[in-house]
């Protein structure tokens, strides 16, 4: 069992990284999503209506977008809790600059760049100063949100140009596909290819599984992590722009709590929080499972409070499930073969023996 020294949880070493085990949970979530969709189309009125589907997809876009780089970040063993505040900062900037009479064509790229800068700050604090990403991003969560409040203050800016608002909220023709989905599809493809089919993606898995081994294998750990943080910040800034145009409102408190939704979706999708395991497919399934469930529950008049309980239970099951399953399997295997207990078999060598 590899000893984890990179600040991961106490039982990180217990969970041996086997792709086989992970894929099974991915498949479970995807099957769950399929089952929920079938139930929705067959059993719940109005679920299948084109407009409803477009709402479902459109409202999930912000979470879905940020879940892509977040998956890669978590696979590499880090986390970024400041994405919601970054999106809020991006949104507040949009409003403030629009009021300052900047052209919208400049505002949007600028806000995305500011997101990248925020991600850069996170990344530098984590890689150069060696600070734990959880604590750092809790700090930047407060700091960026505070900045957003200073920038936009009491205002809610709603008078963006109509053609951009249509891009943010409209659909392609009569299909249920919102325009923003096209953007998402492009990023999804890029993320899937990067994580699963390039050496960069393999490096991320390696870093997450065992940072020191990856370092000694020649992977530029710090550089890669920095890039991941910058990417996460950039996409969070983009998500802020999308949010603002979709809801036609720039406020400093937009996207509050986005980070929790993203993390919940990513965890639901089977991405291991200790790093080294996960698939983009799982993250996508997790995001849309949560979104679909919320949509279905609302249509079925399930109260907001009950929806929160369901989300929480799903989250707990999504982590307990694989672990409990593995423990059962291990216990069964141990009983079947009369092999010595795993603890003795892998006890670390005592130096000097």
């Amino acid at each position: 069992m590899a000893e984890r020294r990179d600040g991961a949880g106490p039982w990180a070493g217990v969970a041996t990284a086997r792709l086989g085990g992970l894929v099974r949970w991915d498949v479970v979530v995807a099957l769950l999503l399929a089952a929920v969709l079938v139930y929705g189309f067959a059993g719940v009125d109005n679920f299948g209506a084109t407009i409803n589907l477009s709402f479902l997809i459109g409202n999930t876009m912000a979470v879905a977008l940020v879940a892509l780089p977040m998956t890669m970040l978590v696979v590499a063993g880090e986390v970024d809790l400041s994405v919601g505040s970054m999106a809020g900062l991006s949104s507040a900037l949009m409003g403030a600059l629009w009021n300052a009479n900047w052209p919208i064509e400049y505002i949007i790229p600028f806000c995305i760049l500011v997101g990248a800068a925020g991600g850069l700050l996170n990344g530098l604090l984590v890689t150069r100063l060696g600070l734990p990403s959880l604590a750092v991003t809790i700090g930047t969560l407060a700091a960026y949100r505070g900045l957003a409040q200073i920038i936009l203050g009491a205002n809610a800016v709603t008078d963006f140009p109509q053609n951009y608002l249509n891009l943010g909220a409209g659909r392609i023709g009569t299909t249920p596909i919102p325009y923003t989905f096209v953007l998402y599809a492009v990023l999804l493809l890029a993320a899937a290819v990067t994580l699963h089919a390039t050496p960069i993606g393999r490096s991320l898995f390696a870093i997450g599984a065992n940072r020191e081994a990856a370092y000694f294998a020649g992977i530029r750990v710090k550089r890669l992590k920095l890039v991941m943080f910058v990417l996460t910040g950039t996409v969070a800034g983009l998500a802020g722009v999308v949010w603002t145009l979709h809801y036609a409102s720039a406020r400093y408190d937009n996207a509050t709590g986005l980070e929790l939704s993203v993390i919940a979706a990513v965890l639901l999708g089977g991405i291991d929080f200790d790093g080294g395991k996960g698939t983009i497919g799982g993250a996508v399934a997790g995001v849309f499972l949560l979104g679909t469930l919320q949509n279905l529950m609302s249509l079925a008049d399930v109260s907001a409070q009950s929806q929160i309980v369901v989300t929480g239970i799903l989250l707990v099951i999504s982590v307990l499930g694989p672990r409990v399953a593995r423990q059962i399997r291990d216990a069964v295997r141990r009983r079947r073969s009369a092999a010595p207990a795993p603890g003795a078999a892998t006890a670390p060598d005592i130096p000097g023996t």
Binding site: D45, N46, A49, I51, N52, F55, N59, W98, N99, N101, W102, P103, I104, E105, Y106, I108, P109, L113, A116, Q149, G153, A154, N155, A156, V157, T158, D159, P161, Q162, Y164, L165, A169, P199, R220, R223, L224, L226, V227, V230, W243, H246, Y247, A248, S249, R251, Y252, D253, N254, A255, T256, G257, Q294, N295, S298, L299, D301, S303, A304, Q305, I308
Partner: protein, 363 residues
């Protein structure tokens, strides 16, 4: 060794791509700025004309969407709404988010209600603009849209049922406090969130009222924001009192802020020395009126507000009114109401609660 795009190379590629996109964007059209766009602010479809002699349809599905559910104020108002909906033989429903700052959640509820084929939506908007796309789609689907308590942009709804005119609320608060202070002393305002539309409108009128010469000896020194959070409201109140030793009065036009300020004052050395007025519910404030911390405060009857909104929605959905100025409708035993500017309907004047009448109310 497979070729690997090293991290610096990758970063360069990303930066180059970003610069390219920026260049393309800049080389494009001169730029759409706020001053160059004219957003069409057309009102709701003025096609249908009102039928003042029409009948209320029965079986109307009317849904209430407050700022937040599980909020006692909104529970009272929506119970009043239910009363109205039952009276017209309709089907009542209440949905909403748990948090009053979840605009995305409230918007998705609008979408859901449209999907469920409601006949009317009665909403207290968390944000004036975020709901617009959804509400416009609702109106396009022939759903009647009524706002109450907190309005959206006027072109996103047909009727706004206002508890009392914003002007009456703002000015009467100042008048109430001034009388308690004998028209002398510094005052401050403890508001809710900085972005709260209704509070900001009322504060605007308060500031305007203070320009009147009879308030020459009173000065508004600060507006603090408690964000409708108890601890924050406490600390903001403490700050107000410490920053200005001459502070004699506080106006808290938010039900959460006023009970926090009252709770703090009643346990501090300032009890009775600093006067507090604002908007509060009788149940919340009963303790502080009885123990002398607060002399008087205002509110309206949220139940009546909800009831009026329910009747307005029913009339709108039945085609009896369209939200144009001058139209009238009957709201059960509340009486007859006339629609004013921009589709606004006023419930009446705010009610002043004090030790003399507070026990008559239970909300």
């Amino acid at each position: 060794m497979t070729f690997r795009l090293t991290a610096p190379g990758r970063r360069f590629a990303v930066a180059a791509a970003g610069a390219a996109i920026l260049a393309i964007a800049l080389s494009g059209c001169g730029g759409t700025t706020k001053s160059s766009t004219t957003n069409s602010s057309g009102g709701p479809a003025a096609g249908a004309s009102a039928n003042p002699n029409g009948q209320l349809k029965s079986g109307l599905k009317i849904a209430f969407l407050p700022k937040a559910v599980n909020n006692p104020y909104f529970t009272t108002s929506d119970t009043g709404g239910k009363k109205a909906v039952d009276a017209v033989g309709g089907v009542y429903k209440e949905v909403g988010t748990s948090s009053a700052t979840d605009t995305a959640g409230q918007v998705s509820y609008v979408n859901t209600l449209v999907q469920q084929g409601q006949n009317a939506i009665v909403v207290s908007a968390q944000d004036p603009g975020a709901m617009c796309t959804g509400l416009k789609q609702a109106m396009a689907a022939k759903i009647a849209v009524v706002t109450y308590d907190s309005d959206t942009n006027p072109d996103c709804r047909q009727v706004f049922v206002n508890q009392a005119s914003a002007e009456a609320i703002g000015r009467s608060e100042v008048q109430l406090l001034a009388k308690e202070l004998n028209y002398t002393g510094d005052i401050a305002i403890l508001s809710a969130a900085q972005t709260a539309t209704n509070q900001n409108t009322w504060i605007g009128f308060m500031q305007d009222e203070l320009k009147d010469p009879k308030y020459a000896n009173m000065k508004l020194v600060k507006t603090a924001y408690g964000n409708d959070d108890a601890q924050k409201s406490f600390q903001e109140t403490q700050g107000l009192l410490q920053a200005d030793p001459n502070l004699k009065g506080i106006i808290a036009p938010t039900t959460v802020g006023i009970k926090a300020a009252a709770q703090y004052l009643s346990g501090s050395q300032y009890k009775g020395k600093v006067q507090l007025v604002g908007l509060g519910t009788p149940n919340d404030m009963r303790q502080y009126v009885k123990d002398g911390t607060v002399q008087a405060f205002e509110l309206w009857d949220p139940g009546k507000l909800g009831e009026l909104a329910g009747y307005a929605a029913a009339n709108l959905a039945s085609g009896i009114i369209t939200g144009a100025k001058g139209e009238t409708f009957t709201a059960g035993d509340l009486g007859k109401f006339t629609i004013g500017d921009k589709g606004e309907v006023l419930l009446g004047d705010p009610t002043v609660f004090n030790a003399g009448n507070i026990d008559q109310f239970n909300f």
